[in-house]
Subunit: 246 residues, 2 copies
């Protein structure tokens, strides 16, 4: 038995999210179906670093699984990619020790969120960004980002739909935003993120960028530990799980 | 009666091309359906600068149509976009003189073609580029591009499926190629292009970039006036109708 770790990428547009569910196409099911074929009908369960919602993309999701097939490490990526549909792919596959765990061993996760700041929608960006017309004050967003960094109880930035049992204290190592041509790029690195946390952070930061709130409101929103104090939840299609470090 | 000129953009992924056909969703039909609604059930025919094939995109296709609705110029774009599906949009709408013709008056067309030069496919680029692994000699492609410029009989670069009645002499004002990160960007400007011409040009230039042919072969391929002498037809998803000048 050998444990494999894979870095995978997917276009979330036509998926009902990462995790298997009764109805709807999922990333987990597509990959497990391929692994079942490779293992001659034996079901192989995969474990990911975490779920992503319907419409959310991944550049660097990480999964692991165990296999009893004696395949050279270099062949795994090609074997899986040959059978996967075109909107999901393995970018890297490597053998790891039996105690590696893609969820429990996460040290840092990075998410990016893309906001297209143009007057009109763009047919080519519609699945990969959130379009916003009007002036956005990037400097104000950057000031707010600094106030989000650090160890906080992020209850105000967690969807009420969470099924989390533990606390909502997380550490954001980096929250940043820059503009490249018409695109605002948000970057969040942390030791973990709550349900919808990045999308609520972006929704709140956008309100600051549009002058509806001030960057100075951030500490109070955090302290409130109340979802109602933060801004709206940004839509899924602008969000990318960018990287997971162990 | 007023003639309107519109610059339109579309993601060609889910279209069976621009032109209306018995089966399959087309850009022309989507726009005419919207105009019919705006004109209370009266059918409005639109005329484009030219067709694009299934899977081919447009950043700056141009159409015209005639309307008896007295709408201010500034409202047309919003009125049409409000009813269009999300993969096609009007970028600009303006009133023009009655003798403007989007096809007959074209002075210059620009097409771009994107080749992703990476070892692996990329789920996010799969509908918008042609992925090619291995080394590509951009300098050799640039040399070949220079030899394509000018007024030539481009029969060797025209699909046998063309229904063209006239001659195949066209003028290429600019043929160029540059690499930006992993993406090769081909740019072609000319007074007109034959059926599949840009895709056959790219297919041939790629063979030169990969060392299967020499840039010096271009004059001979042109002189042959024989489709069999040129390279393969590049796939549609890398092609964008970029701009039309009048």
């Amino acid at each position: 038995m050998q444990r494999l770790k894979c870095i995978i990428s997917y276009d979330g547009t036509h998926f009902s999210g990462y995790q298997i569910q009764p109805n709807g196409r999922t990333v987990q099911e597509e990959i497990e179906t391929v692994l079942e074929k490779i293992h001659k009908g034996k079901h192989i369960r995969i474990v990911a670093s975490g779920r992503t919602d319907a419409g959310v993309h991944a550049k660097g999701q990480v999964i692991h699984f165990d296999s009893n097939i004696a395949m050279p490490e270099a062949n795994w990526k090609k074997a899986i990619n040959a059978l996967l549909p075109k909107d999901v792919q393995v970018k890297k596959a490597e053998k790891v020790s039996d105690d590696f765990h893609s969820r429990y061993d996460v040290k840092e996760k990075e998410y990016r969120y893309f906001v297209l700041n143009t007057e009109d929608r763009d047919v080519f960006q519609r699945h990969f960004s959130w379009q916003h017309a009007g002036n956005i004050d990037v400097g104000a967003i950057q000031s707010a980002c600094k106030l989000l960094e650090g160890k906080h109880d992020f209850s105000s930035f967690c969807s009420a739909k969470t099924d989390l049992k533990g606390d909502k204290i997380r550490t954001i190592y980096e929250a940043s935003c820059y503009k490249k041509e018409d695109m605002l790029v948000f970057c969040f690195k942390g030791n973990g993120f709550l349900y919808n946390m990045v999308r609520i952070l972006v929704g709140t930061l956008l309100e600051i960028g549009k002058g509806k709130r001030s960057a100075r409101d951030i500490p109070g929103i955090i302290r409130a530990e109340n979802r109602g104090e933060a801004g709206e939840t940004a839509p899924p299609q602008g969000l990318f799980l960018w990287n997971v470090d162990y």
